[in-house]
Assembly symmetry: D2
Homo-oligomer: 298 residues x 4
Amino acid sequence: MRVGFIGLGAMGGVMAARLLDAGHELAVWNRSPGAAEQLARRGAQRLQHPEEAFSSDAVITMLADDGAVRDVVLANKALQRAVNKRLVHVGMSTVSVGFAQELERSHAEAGLGYVAAPVMGRPDVAAAGKLNIIAAGAADAIERVRPLLDAMGQKTWVFGAEPHKANVAKLSMNFLIGAAIEAMAEAVTLAERYQVVPKTLMDLLTGTLFAAPAYAVYGGLILKGEFMPANFKLTLGLKDMRLALAAGEAAGVPLPFASVVRDNLVDAIGHGDADKDWSAVARVARRRAGLDDGPPRR
Amino acid sequence: MRVGFIGLGAMGGVMAARLLDAGHELAVWNRSPGAAEQLARRGAQRLQHPEEAFSSDAVITMLADDGAVRDVVLANKALQRAVNKRLVHVGMSTVSVGFAQELERSHAEAGLGYVAAPVMGRPDVAAAGKLNIIAAGAADAIERVRPLLDAMGQKTWVFGAEPHKANVAKLSMNFLIGAAIEAMAEAVTLAERYQVVPKTLMDLLTGTLFAAPAYAVYGGLILKGEFMPANFKLTLGLKDMRLALAAGEAAGVPLPFASVVRDNLVDAIGHGDADKDWSAVARVARRRAGLDDGPPRR
Amino acid sequence: MRVGFIGLGAMGGVMAARLLDAGHELAVWNRSPGAAEQLARRGAQRLQHPEEAFSSDAVITMLADDGAVRDVVLANKALQRAVNKRLVHVGMSTVSVGFAQELERSHAEAGLGYVAAPVMGRPDVAAAGKLNIIAAGAADAIERVRPLLDAMGQKTWVFGAEPHKANVAKLSMNFLIGAAIEAMAEAVTLAERYQVVPKTLMDLLTGTLFAAPAYAVYGGLILKGEFMPANFKLTLGLKDMRLALAAGEAAGVPLPFASVVRDNLVDAIGHGDADKDWSAVARVARRRAGLDDGPPRR
Amino acid sequence: MRVGFIGLGAMGGVMAARLLDAGHELAVWNRSPGAAEQLARRGAQRLQHPEEAFSSDAVITMLADDGAVRDVVLANKALQRAVNKRLVHVGMSTVSVGFAQELERSHAEAGLGYVAAPVMGRPDVAAAGKLNIIAAGAADAIERVRPLLDAMGQKTWVFGAEPHKANVAKLSMNFLIGAAIEAMAEAVTLAERYQVVPKTLMDLLTGTLFAAPAYAVYGGLILKGEFMPANFKLTLGLKDMRLALAAGEAAGVPLPFASVVRDNLVDAIGHGDADKDWSAVARVARRRAGLDDGPPRR
């Protein structure tokens, strides 16, 4: 399958490599050229302009945010110029629900297929092809790009025919992670203030009702108090909380927990933790309780 | 071992039965006499007054709240009258941290052993001897009552020598459950407002990062929208959030998530859900988003 | 009028002095004897036991909290022993609504009059007889003690026949003050972060829509960043927020603003501001925004 | 003075009329032509295109939001085309702080004067020339447009040389109003649940510590429970809370009160109150407390 791939960041780079490994013909573009070179050496074609990617069978975008996708997909009329009307665009970026709906309309007007397919997992997970992919779009469009999704992820969770629903689901997941981090932060801080050994508390919860990766992974980071290098930067976490709140606002859904997490992420950024893993927001609870900046005492 | 058991409610009754099964000699007391009769038929001695339970090797209290424990243990000078100075009192009720500290001091003054040992699990779990027991107290006191704990629980998690730490850990756990319920309620409501199928979202989360009992069990209840009969009553959930907040207040720990959950539980009670399972607090998020009172639409 | 006065703290002492000035016959009691001596020199009778105060025409209690009132009024059966059945007890302490209701029932059972009459104003205001008194109770009981209220306050606001309603109104007022302080704290911090001169902002608001004492007085303290000596201690503010939240809980009223203020007061206490004026809670907003501990920069 | 005026909505229309009354030469533009006609009959020149307004001595914009200002001022290069380099643009719309900063830079690059001057007051206040104007910009630019500001407002509050500071101050004010409304809503709901007469409570607060227009005006609306016609629409209130939160986010300032108000405004919109006065957010507190939709019972 001939695939255009736009956006070769930490995630996009390894995802594109998975497609090469699976035997797909790849044409790549990235704002800064370094990442494209590496893939070119492995056989990918390098494109001069992102809109050239839209002359493939499928085009994948994996970009930072609404603005980056808008610049590449909408601003330069890439959709209108696409000649292959069977093209399917797979939007894998985490974008706002409002913009996702705009993309949906734009593709419909241009008569092109569009599948929203944001992912769960970090670069090492992507490199192993073990991403969970949250997809939505017309069933036949999803089927056409299924080989690509299967090459990048271990499982594709389909959320129906309207692409933006995948973005809602993705934001819901990230909101749940943010809430779990905040809940652990408060619980561990309360425990520490009573000189309960945080590790014992964490063993209890991850050994019983909360025996799940979200608690084990982020709880482990909180216990160690080591938030660098960041798996998922705190500023990205704030972006996702903002998108969840905006989605709630547009749909009439108050999200008091998301508001608390948002406020605490803002607090964290003001205290120098912008580039840390977003579980560093746990330091806010500690600081507010008058505890020092170190990890919880063991 | 000769054991006094005070408090034969839904939990206490089955826990006491486990001790009988394990061959211990039981003397029981309950405010309302029905539960005691049943155990008497199985060989337990019925006591006229709760303080008589303190003439055993060990006494277990499994009562509703601070007030009930105070009436039985402190108000009638049961501790001062106890003649067996090797007696260990195992306090398994969920009480406030402040009262737990008072109990700690009272036992120390009376020269008696005291182990706080609140539990995680519901009546059916207790009947199967599969409770998780959160214990703290002097190491030798815990060892003396270990056979009792082993008869009632599948595992005892020890939180050190000061009994009240077990109560802090227990409240932390219940706070985490309350937070997980609220987080799911907000996420599912957001999803539903965008006509995302809630079941697919729940499958995604319990199939990936949140593959844990707390999410599977309470998420399942939220999806079904069936909150009766209550596994854990909403009013009890409110009590525990209040105790967590009070513990935070006494130790200088703000708990913004607990405040949100508390406010929502108050909202739920005002809307007739006091006796439902505490996951019925999910109806608050739905109602605030202008959705009807039914379960999420599938 | 023969008046018993129990509780001669910073407020009670000057209020009792106002009654002496107005020509009433005073019998006083205080836990620590110093304050009573001073009034004795001015003609007041000193009592050995607080229950002796209940042999007057009216008895006023101005004590720290529920516990102090309980010890004096309920624990020693003062009500049952009172022989003058036309006695009216004027409860001026800020107590919980639940306890206020209990007092109401106890007085009714003892056949004694009871007026709840908490006050607004600080010691200097009390010394000038300019308090605002928030009263509730049977109309004839209020009329009988009207001369006393008039001697202590500039105005008595009557909230009906059930005494506890005065306590609800008083807690509502203090909640509104706490909310105004928090709102100003957030606004001033936002302004300062954009290098807006806080004084200009405060001039604008107190010169237009918020031209009221609550904003002028507490806004002034926030601007100066001087919170000592405390007009109203932060720990007392926390007590009142806790009472407001408890009143809401008992009546099914979520109070999200009160929850935020409560959490911030807890934060403030953990940072050493327990004995400062409760407007020092403004330092929490500053600290969370990464600003130093000084006053807002002018 | 020759003045261009862009945006003749409910506010802009009466403000422009004040300038005509004061003898200024007016050239007006509005998206929908009706409002311009009315002013034309009173002597104003009607413009075909908004950029023509930039050939005056001063141009005033009074538009709905960032987008409307962007379309008129930035999108059509109005600034670059302006030939009179002594022109001062007075931006009176309530815009985001981020966009205010962008406008600041754009005017500096174009070498034009720029004064941000959002206003406090409603159409009837504007008609009487009694607005409070919150202004910031270079001192000489402010002086040049002073006659215009004086014709429209009773007082101009100057917040320094950087225009965006006026927008920060304006959003701070609106945030404070939103917080006062929410605080009153919670207090009145608590009172009502205890059958305290809401009117007596409101008399107490507006008669003592909260004797200020914000409390009297919005408190009065809450008491009556009549929120139509809207003085300031709830959706506009939500917009301003969103802008305040965004300003806080950009500057590292958590705003927990603004988050609560935002969530409640979202709740209100979902319950059909989008077009009501924003004090209708008080209905959220009532609804959450299980009270009916009517006004507080008197």
